[in-house]
Symmetry: D2
Subunit: 358 residues, 4 copies
């Protein structure tokens, strides 16, 4: 308390009176008071407040990763931002339980008054998606998602389609990872050799084993498939083919660095970067979960249309929970790990750089 500031009251600081004046049930306006509309308004306002906070943290993360170099002193900060987003997401998911205390019959009492308002029209949620780096969006009724946003927000949302997303900044940051290729050590080459060794040895083990022929064939087929898989990441042009098919999104260089960080995560300098990538995978997973819970809840509230006339909301939502992913590469990547004991040993020259010296 090195300085004194004018005293302030809780109610004034938090604008409580203003806040509590923003719940305006339509059912009351129309003289057909429906008890559960208050909950419906309150929970959606709570969602918007949390979206505001998530956006605030994403903006900070984008700032941290925007420079040409990210200071290691900022790693803990970045990790804290991501952890906060994760904790908020858990609440977003869990509070669907609150909304589900409203039954379909309760909703029916005021549903018609809100037409065509929909969570679909949340500007902030679109900003979150764009700033994280969502690019391939499913369309609903064949319309650009921005047409359902308020007119005065469409420009702001468009702008985030152009400016660097967290995904893009992360990718650049990964691409800049040092240590991967030097005179002393070529990670990619060393890794490839180990992988090939491993597959060859496995093949031999299988063939020399006393397994029956049928089982042997299965094992050998699996090994062959593994061989081909690995080949597709070691070979840049094959990798880029898979990128075009949508299996990978990260550049080849970024993926290689991400792999390195996962495999050698115990090296001091890689500990926080590993943690960051794990957190981003969790953030993706949590939004997937949230969309999925949301979809089920909508199904429960509205039922399901019979017949083919138009896609129904809950099916669209369920589809987005499958497709609207940003950091899926951090999931797919696990296919390309090998056990710690089989990793190429880092030469002292490299491993020294990954540690503290004091």
């Amino acid at each position: 308390m090195a300085q004194t500031y004018p005293p302030i009251h809780y109610a004034e600081y938090l604008k409580v009176d203003d806040l509590l004046s923003l719940q305006k049930p339509k059912s009351e306006e129309y003289g057909k008071s429906a008890h559960d509309e208050m909950l419906f308004i309150v929970i959606h306002q709570v969602y918007e407040l949390w979206f505001r906070q998530i956006l605030f943290e994403i903006d900070s993360a984008i700032e941290l990763f925007s420079g040409d170099r990210v200071d290691e002193r900022d790693m803990l900060k970045a990790s804290s931002l991501f952890q906060r987003i994760i904790e908020i997401q858990k609440i977003l998911i869990d509070q669907v339980d609150v909304l589900e205390t409203m039954t379909p019959m309760d909703f029916l009492e005021f549903r018609d008054f809100l037409y065509p308002a929909s969570g679909f029209q949340s500007t902030q949620f679109r900003l979150i998606e764009n700033k994280l780096g969502l690019v391939q969006r499913l369309t609903y009724n064949n319309q650009d998602y921005k047409t359902s946003l308020p007119q005065n927000k469409q420009h702001e949302v468009s702008a985030t389609e152009e400016s660097p997303s967290l995904f893009q900044l992360l990718e650049k940051w990964l691409e800049r990872t040092p240590f991967l290729a030097s005179e002393a050590f070529d990670f990619w080459k060393a890794y490839r050799e180990k992988v090939e060794d491993r597959i060859a040895t496995s093949r031999q083990h299988v063939m020399e084993s006393e397994l029956n022929e049928e089982v042997k064939t299965v094992h050998l087929k699996n090994l062959e498939q593994m061989d081909r898989s690995f080949h597709s990441i070691f070979n840049k042009s094959e990798y880029e083919k898979l990128q075009q098919e949508g299996y990978w999104r990260l550049s080849h260089g970024a993926l290689c660095a991400a792999l390195f960080i996962h495999l050698y995560r115990d090296e001091p300098i890689l500990q926080l970067p590993f943690q960051l990538m794990t957190q981003l995978a969790t953030i993706d997973e949590n939004f997937t979960q949230w969309r999925h819970r949301h979809a089920i809840m909508v199904h429960r509230m509205l039922g399901a249309k019979i017949g083919t006339g138009g896609s129904s909301g809950h099916k669209y939502l369920k589809a987005t929970s499958d497709k609207h992913k940003v950091f899926q590469d951090f999931f797919n990547m696990a296919t390309f790990f090998i056990p710690k004991s089989d990793l190429p040993e880092l030469p002292k020259e490299i491993s020294d750089k990954l540690r503290f010296r004091y």
Copy 2:
């Protein structure tokens, strides 16, 4: 304490020593100790203990609903059983967070030792599915699910395919609902009239409104679709067609009763039955969520296969989260509700029977 019993110690009562002797990491047996295998064993044993409890509750519920008549005195009991299952399911879902503290690299240290063990082989989970009433199961690698169970359990599991499931007992119980058709009152007929009125009035409102033609057309099309939808439940033969297509599973009579109970849930005798159906929908929803979280977790742990060689585990799991549903009718049904204020009024003769008299 009307009688005295021999004193017993916590450790003896819970068989703690035996319990704690059942964790036998393969990685230790093979002399390649992997830290995270203990967690892997413990969490799966916890899952099996919870499955045991869920089965125990389902068995009790099946017993309660097995008679020719379910005593209203058993409604609270049934509701408690279902609520317990729900609370356990929340834990099943949340504890995936614990498993996710194991990273793919940690798993890789012992994964090969367990081949081909898989959660797929859990007998108890299959019993749960069968006893709840799952019938249409996705196949994995084109094999009957029972082939992956232990030999000595296959018979027990087969038996549950034949004996009455909770779904079937519920359906019978719904079919026996009185009050729906008497001289004084024919619910189905009265409801149909109200629905048709409602659609006709809406149509008129739209046509007389000052909406532009395009919007009018959309509204009218929606009303027409609603009309056809409702027709498909009022007409038994159309209903049965939808049943064959898999949209509905309940018999026409059971669905009609379920609808009645939802619409008039405030009547004292319908309060607990309404609550039971809501709980069963939640149980379905929770297993859906659990399968979905499980699928994502598997994806994260194992990555995703490239190419077409065989279906991958997480995709299968995700598909089951869509398809392995038992009480989906309680979700779909919401399409056929109309607001309370539009419901046919119950004649005093009926409503008296739905209340207490003292």
Copy 3:
């Protein structure tokens, strides 16, 4: 959709622009931007929104229980209101995890700017306490809690000290429970006999048992204490003494009815009332938990004062988690249950009234 209403947009319906304009960090105003202040504001606004919803539900519950007679048709509604409060409380508790992503060092960056604002000054929380029926409040720094509220709210809060609380209305409702005393059946007398029998039988079992003398003495002492305990509820004047000492709060008549409802909860007419009381106990438990988590969090954020100069915030909060209880009688009551098998049987005349007849 029997009528058409003017279309409305999500942003307009939820007043999103207004809502998102209410976060005004002091640290920015003072040119000393502190990252975590946004979270601090957002989470407290979320708390206030949830308090609004809880108040809304409590008000509805108070209305339901205000008449001279509560219609059984309103039991499900009441139970839904309480369940909603419970689900919201879980979120209130869990979201402390979000606040704890702010570390003490982060808080220090803007703490001084807020002085002396405090959660203590939340008008809504006081209204919740009063409307539930909190009467004996710990004082903080020897001041009436209302002095810290905004001037223009003190009157509103005072008013709730006078108007009937949920506790009081519940008590009246319990007191009106029929069935307890009629020519056919005097519950209180029958229960007393059963209890006395049970204790006498137990005493005999102990004395005839082969337990050693020391253990016998312990058992007999326990039985004697049990005897005295039960005596204190069967005897109205002793009961009232315990009421004055603060052990009980409900009137003797209300407690007797609450006991009856718990013991015979399976009777159809008692199922929902039993459920309601269980929910109210849970609501109490949840606020206790919330205060406790809150206390620990404050301790963690601010540390603990050394020495005796003034009570520290977290100790006060912890004390309120012990003392600020409303429905504690529903907890204490468990001491006075006896097993189902030992209950007095209800004469047919009574039990018929507790069931449906159709």
Copy 4:
């Protein structure tokens, strides 16, 4: 899969048959089957399984911190162990909800059969407490806690009272923190000067301000108290007095290092150590919460004894939630932080050692 291992089945790997044979309800043995006893057994077995896992992680953590030097390469590992404990604890707390689906009346059906078994007698929980470093334990009925453990476990538990606890190892590790005192920089001296400056400046601000005299007096009194507080940590002999009074537990050297790590947590070498201490505080907080929930649940299940005859279980449990703390210093410490902007600047010579150089 560099080697092939004998195939294993899920049921065999997890010893499912053995596991599911360990639930032996006493109520069945006595021919008085009580439905809820199964839940009671299952949930307590689940607790013991989780305790096993927590112990396993604590043992690993103890091993990591046992050497004369903790390799920075082990920091991420340690942090993962702690995070896993935290995730398990959340489940321990949340699953009380499952147990609370058992009502007091349900429990009464089998309670007498279990006498005097109690969670109190859990060996594993005592091991957890001792290995974490709990030393001052409240006594229950004036007996050493070990007398209630199984005879054959008492020795094992005693041994953990003697061997180094996690608390003690952490303390040694903190004491060894380099960087705190060198020719270039004496942290403790520099910090003291900054603190004194800060208080002096604040004093002056207050006196020169236009606040009224009463408010000034309050502020000045607070500053004086702050001054005395800080003095008590800067002065080793005063610190040790507070240690004897139980305010602090860490040695003076360890506390000083802990403070340094918190204040300069952004320095790369301090990021993980900071994270570890935060996690340990959370582990403490979670056990506190768990004890507290447990206490309330016991109260709800058993009621509360009237009068003074013996301490009741739930009050004892509540008291332990206040007193059984291990890492409380990490909470109290917050009192002695000052804002980042006021911290002594680290000389380049020091800050270079805290970063990577590559």
